[in-house]
């Protein structure tokens, strides 16, 4: 099992009531303090380096624009720096947004440079991006999916077809494709795709045997989508395995239960724990970005499949002060924990919970998401070290014991199937029943 480190690199401090009132996207950038930003970028880079030294196999970076909970606007710059200052870790982009740069050739070149500087450690991840990314970059949301697919085909072609060649697509046109700099990894860096279990994306990945990384999604729908992946893989002639799947899980670990709980409470601040649901719907779903069905499905994705209480989500009129009280209540934390979206404890006490997830989903890639709260650098560093000493060794052993082969252990798509009808599930719904 490949174990990767992830932090969304939140901007903080930020007036909590501002995000409660306006959501986590769209707040005026006059609230951004460059001095704070300068310090945070460097701290986050130092933390990533420590994550490598502490035993993580990979560092995950993501990209958002204008989202107060993520400073990775031009994540390739961070990746390029990490390519130089880390030694061993995979640098995993989850992911780049080819549609918003408007020029996928430029993206192909950037990624090739990162792959070269890192000595072939890049994992390229491509995403459609949320609705807000389209607005923030003036990328037409109505063409998002077709642009994404075309940009992907083009990037692969630019990496693998000797130039110069001409490219005339629907959205992209080039008269002289001949990037001098090409990736070190052949035929090209691995491509993983993160998502919130949209069936279209899962099918698209399975058809190309790209590992699919589910981002803290509820386990029940995730199992269904794993099955869809396996079924699609079988039609393509291969048996999917753990190497085709990744799962991202937020884990808050500290020396003591009480400290872990205190830090976990910070996750709730400003309503950020509701993630995309904490963004105004007209920003999240710009015109044509999703079909109505897909938007409805996405809304359901954030709803607890077991029913029960939900996180506070800004809907209609509400009182900010009242909302603040609800958001920062231990009940909200309990909702997150009960639904496995957040695991809190000491290194030893979180192990059984993580084991359950691994038994159910059997991912070959497991990404530990660290705190998104306003947590100071020293504490973050201390916790990364703690996880390295007392959690990662146990997780590695567990991965081996459960046979969770990573995409680096076994090439995704390499287990051929003699008959498409003979495919086997990777996820284990029966293990879920025991939860």
């Amino acid at each position: 099992m490949h174990i990767a480190y992830f932090s969304e690199r939140p901007y903080h401090p930020l007036d909590e009531e501002l995000t409660i009132a306006q959501g986590i996207w769209g707040i005026s950038n006059r609230h951004f303090d460059p001095a704070v930003g300068a310090r945070l970028y460097n701290e986050y880079l130092d933390q990533a380096v420590l994550a490598e030294e502490s035993g993580y196999d990979g560092i995950v970076l993501n990209e958002h624009h204008g989202l107060v909970t993520c400073m990775g606007a031009v994540a390739n710059l961070e990746a390029a720096i990490l390519a130089r200052i880390t030694k061993r870790c995979r640098i995993i982009m989850l992911g780049n947004l080819p549609t918003i740069v408007g020029n996928p050739l430029r993206l192909a070149e950037e990624l090739a440079e990162i792959d070269l500087i890192s000595g072939g450690r890049l994992v390229s991840g491509l995403v459609r991006g949320g609705g807000t990314e389209q607005l923030a970059n003036n990328s037409n949301p109505a063409f998002n999916r077709e642009c994404f697919e075309e940009a992907h085909e083009f990037i692969i072609k630019a990496w693998t077809t000797p130039g110069p060649f001409r490219y005339e697509g629907k959205h992209f046109h080039y008269r002289f494709v001949n990037p001098w700099v090409l990736p070190l990894q052949k035929p090209h860096p691995p491509i993983w795709v993160p998502g919130l279990v949209s069936p279209e994306t899962v099918t698209w990945c399975a058809e190309r045997s790209y590992p699919y990384v589910a981002l803290s999604t509820y386990l029940e729908p995730t199992i269904d989508l794993w099955d869809l992946y396996c079924e699609t893989a079988a039609r393509k002639g291969y048996q999917a395995g753990p190497e085709n799947f990744g799962y991202l899980q937020k884990v808050i670990v500290a020396e003591t239960e009480s400290e872990a709980r205190e830090i976990a409470m910070l996750e709730l601040q400003g309503g950020r724990a509701a993630a995309f649901a904490a963004i105004r719907p007209e920003f999240m779903f710009p015109p044509g970005y999703n079909s109505r069905q897909a938007s409805g499905r996405m809304a359901r994705q954030f709803r607890n499949p077991k029913g029960g209480p939900e996180l506070f989500v800004r809907r209609g009129d509400y009182d900010v002060a009242e909302a603040k009280k609800i958001i920062n209540s231990p009940e909200q934390l309990k909702i997150l924990e009960d639904s496995y979206r957040l695991i809190v404890g000491t290194p030893e006490s979180v192990i059984p919970k993580i084991r359950k997830i691994l038994e159910v989903l059997r991912p070959g890639v497991f990404i530990l998401r660290h705190s998104d709260g306003p947590l100071d650098h020293e504490t973050r560093m201390r916790l990364i070290g703690l996880i390295g000493r007392r959690l990662l060794p146990a997780l590695k052993e567990m991965g081996s014991e459960l046979g969770l082969v990573s995409p680096f252990d076994r090439k995704p798509g390499s287990q051929r199937l003699s008959s498409p009808g003979k495919w086997q599930r990777v996820a284990r719904a029966d293990a879920l029943a025991q939860l």
Binding site: L135, N138, N140, P141, A142, P281, E282, P286, P287, G288
Partner: protein, 266 residues
Amino acid sequence: MNADSLIPSERQVLIDDVPLLLVEGGRGEPLLVLHDELGYPGWLTWNAQLAEDRRLIIPMAPGFGRSPGLDWLSSVRDLACFYGRLLREAGLDRVDVLGFSFGGWVAAEMAVNSPEQFARMMLVAPAGIKPPEGEILDLFLRSAPEYLRAGIYQPASCAEYLKLYGNPPAQPQIEQWEEARAQVARLAWSPYLHNPSLPSLMRGIRSVPTLLIWGERDAVVPVSAARRYRDSMPGAQVALLQECGHRPEIERTQDFVNIVRKFISS
């Protein structure tokens, strides 16, 4: 003519194999009506009044939820060419046109392509030109109900607005708005709701008597754009309505109908 012909009916025409839905109603000379960026809002008071002496022909633009989309359609000028073909194939020669907002822009593009298509042109707060002052309200940053509300200067006292949009919208209505918004994004995402070449090309339209109808309190397409339109078409008349927003046909129905009637009978 019997009274039934005043009640609108729908029919499909095929252009190649692609169906296009037309709403038609009224009697008399044809009047082409081009709906706005949120699609056809239904047969309203003004429609019924104008239908007494005009046959209204209202195409449901491709991709707006009623007529299927065309995958090659990528600009408002494309749509204008497509409608030009509709007019030829429907035998509508030198027709009068009335276009609202986005539909006004479409009409202006049609006139630029081929002025002889139109006998008279009435543009109601048309998009299509970048206003010299202010900005065209962004349909893509707000919900359809919010956008509609911004289109009326005094929504609380506008009876037809309240009748149409005063209650929470039904699901089919929401879906139609979303289809319309997506299609406008495909056609006019950037530059937003205007075409930089339009003012220069409009100088070539000399033969079409044109009336611009605009609410002085338009919060969607600033009234400053009327000046730009006039500069491009020196012969155009401008009818400004006081205490009125982006939808004179709803907010000042009687004045609107009188202005249109007077112009088309001149």
